[in-house]
Amino acid sequence: MDRPEPYIEPAYALMLQQVGKSFDGKVAVRDLSLAIRPGEFYGLLGANGAGKTTSLRMTVGLLAPDRGSIEVFGIDALQRPSDAKQVLAWLPDEPMLYDQLTPLEYLEFVAGLWRIEAREAAARAGELLDRLDLWSQRDTRCAALSRGMKQKVSLAGALVHDPRLLILDEPLTGLDPAIQREVKDLLLARTDAGCTIILATHILDVAERLVDRIGILRGGELVAEGTLAELRTRTGRDDATLEDIFLALAVAPADA
């Protein structure tokens, strides 16, 4: 009788090797290599147009890279996209919602896409709506929700299938401090539960407080990577804030 092979956790939740992408001859991402460990909270920083969103969209399979390889928990995301998508979730800055569906219906639809059984889907949807203080809005169509609420519904949609890798692109933009706090708490709870999170943001204060490691992109290239302490060492200032580091590394002298 064959015994099932024991599951071995891959060493990396996400591994990008020499990934590149150009648009009309203009390089958006140049030879990007990243290795993010399971359970890690990784911050991707960069000025506007640095290539953050392009990198993340390639990672989740929304854009095909021109070259390089992408592995999600050991799965070749370019060869087996469906298997890779099964374990990841993506939250863009603009919520991917259906205006005419209610939050509850939206979450159940997303759960259906990830083939989650109905009862389980309803339970997860209810739990997330409750957790994000959206339960009272469960029967309100998304079109009538505020920007912050839409973003929370979108976040709930990203979490409803319990992803192992959560990729967020500016999830806190336009949210009031109270909702920002809710979202941050939820994200920290997810990393505590073993979820890997990659966060692209401009809000440096958030990155400084939440993330374990930081990668800084400039002109489509990874110019620095490490913990906050490692980055401080690199800039030569022990008291440097992330803003100081960002301005020193992410913004080219001519841009500063």
Partner: protein, 498 residues
């Protein structure tokens, strides 16, 4: 130089806003010019027919037998104009949200509203004017200047349409809100026009009379309702009574905007805020998506989205309905095949179902609201596309089957031909939308084929070929049936992609 705040200045502002609806206004203007030139070209042979008829009638045309048809056309046109004016009024008074700005200025609200009302007239009159006025011009040159009275008729229809539309609009907004009012306004207009257009055919002699009438220059026999004769007489009326009608309706419009100016302002101010309010979906109406097949999942999603946005469904249905009106007017009194019991109108069901399947196919495939969400799902994109195509067709085929069964109970071959060809048309148009996915905003359904005219023509051609096949099949002409079927399949093969 126009003085700021004057009536011409306000009118210029209104017309500029109307023109800005198009992304490239110059292209819209160019299109209008091209349409006017082309329609003048078409009007020339039409005017020859009028002269030939005039000569045949000994120098003076007797319009009496054609009055019901003209009356029907007038009421249909009037219905469409009311529908158009309701949409424009809703937009100008409740959706555009600029009345707060205008009313907070020192310009009199009465003046603002009066100018806005006449701007609605000018914009509503445009489609009608483009189609009618070239004929008026050519007929005026060839057959006599009295035909210029069509100018007055067109203006009269637009002003009267706006007079009716404005109070309807305000009443609807007060009772059901802006969004539902937009939908209901369209329904009212379409039903209004359809009732009169098709109603004009009732009581106009036995079935088959149109075939006979067309041989005799559209002279109909039988008694038509007096209202239709009276309305038809208005179309060919002398200029003077027409001018009277125009002046009276303009005066009513002016008084309406003056007397009710303050009321309009209050309603507009309160309703514009309500325009953004979206209704709650009741818990009873909530649907559950999970634990179902992929086509089931998408069928539920697509139909719930469509059901919650009736304006969208109306857009899908109204375009084919409007295209079919001229054909329906002829087919209603005609027959095909043994045909003594069923009118030829049902053949148009094939055309209609093909067009509707095309529209629904576009909504499901190209009008997807959250394409990135679906691309992220761990499901083969081909399976999603297939599931969406099935989802769009699922409710159409049973409707077609029920209609075909009802027809088959009266004439078996007729029912079978309608079902087979209807299904062929629906599948063909759905396939076209699977092969050519052009991402677009579903809220702009009417403009979905902008820049993709070839697809619109292909959709129409496929539906038309299947309708032709149905017609010939019912007529028991097997070879004539095979030709359009082969052509439709050949066209599909040619267009196949991926």
């Amino acid at each position: 130089m126009i003085a700021a705040g004057s009536i011409p200045w306000l009118m210029r502002h209104e017309l500029r806003l109307a023109l800005r609806v198009a992304r490239k206004p110059w292209r819209l203007l160019l299109l209008i010019v091209v349409a006017l030139v082309a329609l003048h070209g078409i009007a020339i042979p039409a005017s020859w027919a009028v002269i030939a008829l005039e000569n045949k009638m000994g120098g003076k045309i007797n319009f009496a037998p054609a009055l019901p048809l003209l009356g029907g056309l007038l009421w249909f046109t009037f219905g469409m104009t009311v529908m158009n004016a309701i949409g424009r009024t809703l937009n100008a008074l409740f959706v555009r949200n600029d009345l707060d700005l205008l009313f907070s200025s020192p310009i009199s609200p009465h003046r603002v509203l009066a100018v806005r009302a006449f701007a609605i007239v000018l914009v509503s009159v445009l489609p009608l004017a483009i189609f009618v006025l070239p004929f008026a011009n050519v007929l005026a040159v060839v057959a006599g200047v009295r035909w210029l009275s069509l100018y007055l008729l067109v203006l009269c229809v637009a002003v009267a349409g706006t007079v009716i539309a404005m109070p309807i609009c305000v009443g609807l907004v007060r009772t059901i809100g802006v969004r539902r009012a937009q939908t209901l306004g369209q329904v009212v207009g379409i039903l209004f026009g359809l009732t009169f257009a098709l109603g004009s055919q009732i009581g106009v002699g036995p079935r088959g009379v149109m075939q006979e009438a067309s041989r005799r220059g559209f002279y109909l026999a039988g008694d038509a309702p007096p209202l239709l004769r009276w309305s038809g007489a208005l179309v060919v009326a002398e200029p003077l009574p027409m001018l009277g009608c125009l002046l009276i309706s303009s005066l009513v419009l002016l008084l309406l905007s003056r007397w009710f100016g303050a009321a309009f302002a209050t309603i507009a101010a309160t309703s514009s805020a309500r325009a953004t309010r979206i209704g709650r979906a009741t818990a009873r109406g909530a649907i559950h998506f999970a634990e179902t097949s992929l086509p089931g999942l998408f069928a539920r999603k697509e139909w719930r989205l469509i059901a919650r946005n009736p304006a969208l469904l109306l857009s899908v249905l109204s375009a084919p309905l409007l295209q079919l009106i001229p054909l329906a007017l002829i087919a209603f009194r005609n027959e095909v095949g043994a045909g003594a019991q069923i009118s030829a109108l049902w053949v148009l069901l094939v055309l209609m179902i093909g067009q509707v399947a095309g529209g629904l196919g576009w909504l499901a495939q190209s009008g997807e609201d959250a394409p990135d969400l679906l691309r992220l799902a761990p499901v083969d994109p081909v399976r999603i596309t297939r599931a969406k195509a099935i989802a769009a067709l699922v409710p159409l085929l049973p409707i077609l089957a029920v209609a075909s069964l009802a027809i088959a109970l009266v004439e078996f071959e007729y029912g079978v031909a309608i079902f087979v060809c209807g299904a062929g048309a629906a599948l063909s148009c759905a396939l076209l939308n699977v092969w050519y996915i052009e991402p677009g905003d579903r809220r702009k359904f009417a403009a979905r084929r902008k820049g993709h005219w070839g697809l619109a023509v292909a959709e129409l051609a496929l539906s038309g070929l299947w309708s032709l096949a149905a017609w010939k099949a019912i007529d028991h002409r097997p070879w004539s049936t095979v030709v359009p079927v082969v052509l439709a399949l050949g066209l599909l093969r040619m267009l196949r992609r991926g």
